[in-house]
């Protein structure tokens, strides 16, 4: 297996007085797509937010590209090369699609060729380029959230449930986009309940429960093992399939 780009070791996160992450150990190999599965409330979103520095871990280490990032501020973590597509998408609805993309491109105006690449997967963004992002449909907002994360090359992209409530046609385009990102060498950590989507893209998989990672495997192995799926994921999986 490839060397690790991101490692969480014994990460604990408290939100207020609640002890949410209770010793998360997670390895994200460089260049691959790691799927984070787990039932509702298992702590997947909290894990991504902790990596991003939006929650501060109370204990444990987060190592990214050989550097401990657990104490860094969110902007510094982003500048280290991690992009984040949150569960709620975090679209700036008052800003146009173009302005959302302008902010996401830190180095200057968005690169023309890169935009064409993005538009090939998400043509709606071209169509609504000058419109306020608030008028986009849910699926189009999700495209914009992903486009923002990939407008410039980033070493690692964290994506939280991008398929939730999204039409199947758009999901197919997302699969295409993520597959090409992988080919470019981008590492992706994907929280996903849609098993078809996860299985289509995942190289490795980690399953969370009650604030811990309880199972690690190659995605193909889990996809082939229905008993393990039922044991680890239970009803959540069927409900989302």
């Amino acid at each position: 297996m490839a060397e690790a780009l991101l490692t969480l070791e014994g990460v604990h996160t408290h939100i207020g007085q609640y002890h949410i992450l209770q010793g998360v150990d997670l390895t994200v190999p460089r260049g691959g797509l790691t799927v984070l599965l787990g039932r509702n409330g298992a702590g997947k979103t909290t894990t991504l937010r902790t990596i991003m520095g939006l929650w501060k871990p109370s204990r444990g280490r987060v190592t990214f590209a050989g550097r401990d990032i657990a104490g860094l501020s969110t902007p510094d973590i982003a500048r280290a090369g991690i992009a984040y597509v949150p569960e709620a998408m975090g679209i700036f609805s008052d800003l146009t699609v173009a302005e959302n993309m302008t902010l996401a491109a830190r180095r200057g105006p968005p690169d023309k060729a890169r935009l064409d690449w993005i538009f090939a997967f998400f043509p709606a963004l071209r169509r609504f380029w000058s419109q306020p992002a608030g008028v986009l449909s849910g699926g189009q907002k999700q495209m914009l959230a992903i486009a923002r994360a990939v407008v410039e090359p980033r070493a690692l992209i964290l994506v939280d449930e991008p398929t939730k409530g999204i039409a199947p046609a758009i999901i197919d385009n997302m699969i295409g986009a993520f597959a090409e990102l992988k080919r470019e060498g981008t590492t992706i950590l994907l929280v996903e309940q849609n098993f078809r989507f996860a299985a289509a893209l995942g190289d490795t998989v980690a399953v969370m429960d009650d604030g811990r990672v309880v199972h690690r495997d190659r995605m193909a192995a889990l996809a082939a093992d229905e008993a393990a799926q039922t044991r680890l994921l239970g009803l959540t999986l069927d409900a989302h399939q």
């Binding site: 302005e99 302008t102 538009f119 000058s130 419109q131």
Partner: protein, 340 residues
């Protein structure tokens, strides 16, 4: 950005992207409705110009405060300190320049005014920076503490003004060229009010330019909506906030200078007097919205002038009534700023 605007394909229907125009109509409707009530056109013009001038001054003061709230959820009850300190600094500049202030030369008058405004703006900008670091930063995210601590800051500032400039009422020297009125037929319009309107419009236009055409402005607008996401994109929102706080303080100093020139007198309590109106305006406008703040300031100030003329007895409560009416129509204010 030209290189990055792809053509639209015509076959696709555009989503509903209609601007919300209703709030724009409130001030004009108010103006038209007041005309028959006031009865005389010259009186109505005088009241309207007075209202517009007052509205612009309130807008200049309030615009920074609404962004400060929008960006970091900071309730700054100490904003009045910048109004007062700005006015006192401007006065301190104008008094030794009495020769220029009273001269019959427009240019000397304007030069004196420019120096006074610069003193007020720079002084309150620096004060704003210190205020943010010392008073506001330790209480990020804690509303109750913010209210107490910023109010404390206001009291300290007022006492400091007493100590430096004395507690008595001061005269604010209005430059010669701004005295008196311009007469159009039988309508007289005070010159200073025209200047106040011009300054307010300039500040508004400048802010729109920055907010809509620069990356800093985009970041401010984005930060008002979702500060966490701005940080996740790699921008330090606290730096942005300090910048906005300093600019807002300088604008309050400018607005305080205008307000004192308008009144031609000042005391340390000048900040507190205006702040009631300022809070009403930013609530009416929608917290975090500069456009709403602009419209809210116009509505409140116009109404104050019309009501003060038509029914002076209810003048004191008219602002509250307007706020209640607008919040019944739009509970979040004229413009709802989308929040995460």
């Amino acid at each position: 950005m030209a290189a990055t605007s792809p053509a639209t394909t015509s076959a696709d229907s555009l989503p509903e992207a209609r601007r919300d125009l209703a709030p724009l109509l409130v001030a004009p409707v108010l103006m038209v409705a007041a005309l028959p009530l006031v009865g005389s056109l010259p009186t109505w013009v005088t009241l309207t110009v007075a209202g517009l001038a007052m509205g612009m001054m309130i807008f200049v003061i309030a615009s920074g405060l609404t962004l400060v709230f929008g960006l970091m959820d900071v309730l700054n009850f100490g904003h009045g300190a910048f109004i007062a300190v700005g006015a006192y600094l401007a006065m301190t500049m104008l008094v030794p320049l009495a020769g220029w202030v009273q001269a019959d030369s427009l240019w000397l008058n304007l030069a004196a005014l420019a120096l006074a405004v610069a003193a007020a703006g720079i002084g309150t900008g620096v004060l704003g920076f210190a205020f943010e670091r010392v008073i506001v930063m330790p209480v990020y995210g804690e509303h109750l503490k913010q209210i107490l601590v910023t109010m404390g800051g206001l009291i300290v500032a007022e006492q400091a003004i007493h100590a430096v400039w004395g507690g008595d009422q001061k005269a604010m020297p209005l430059p010669q060229a701004l005295r008196g009125a311009v007469v159009f037929g039988d309508v007289a319009v005070e010159k200073f009010r025209l200047l106040a309107v011009a300054v307010g419009l300039l500040v508004f236009a400048g802010m729109q330019l920055v907010l809509n055409r620069t990356k800093i402005g985009l970041l401010i607008r984005a930060g008002v909506e979702n500060g966490e996401m701005v940080e996740a994109l790699g921008y330090r929102i606290r730096r942005l906030f300090v910048g906005v706080f300093v600019a807002g303080s300088a604008l309050a100093g400018l607005g305080g200078t205008l307000w004192a020139l308008y009144r031609e007198t000042l005391t340390a309590a000048i900040g507190g007097e205006v702040m009631v109106l300022v809070f009403i305006v930013i609530i009416i406008g929608g917290l975090g919205s500069v456009g709403g703040c602009f419209l809210g300031a116009l509505v409140v100030a116009l109404a104050a002038n019309y009501v003060g003329y038509l029914a002076p007895k209810i003048a004191l409560v008219s602002n509250i009534l307007i706020m209640a009416a607008i919040l019944m129509w739009r509970p979040q204010g004229l413009y709802l700023v989308a929040r995460r």
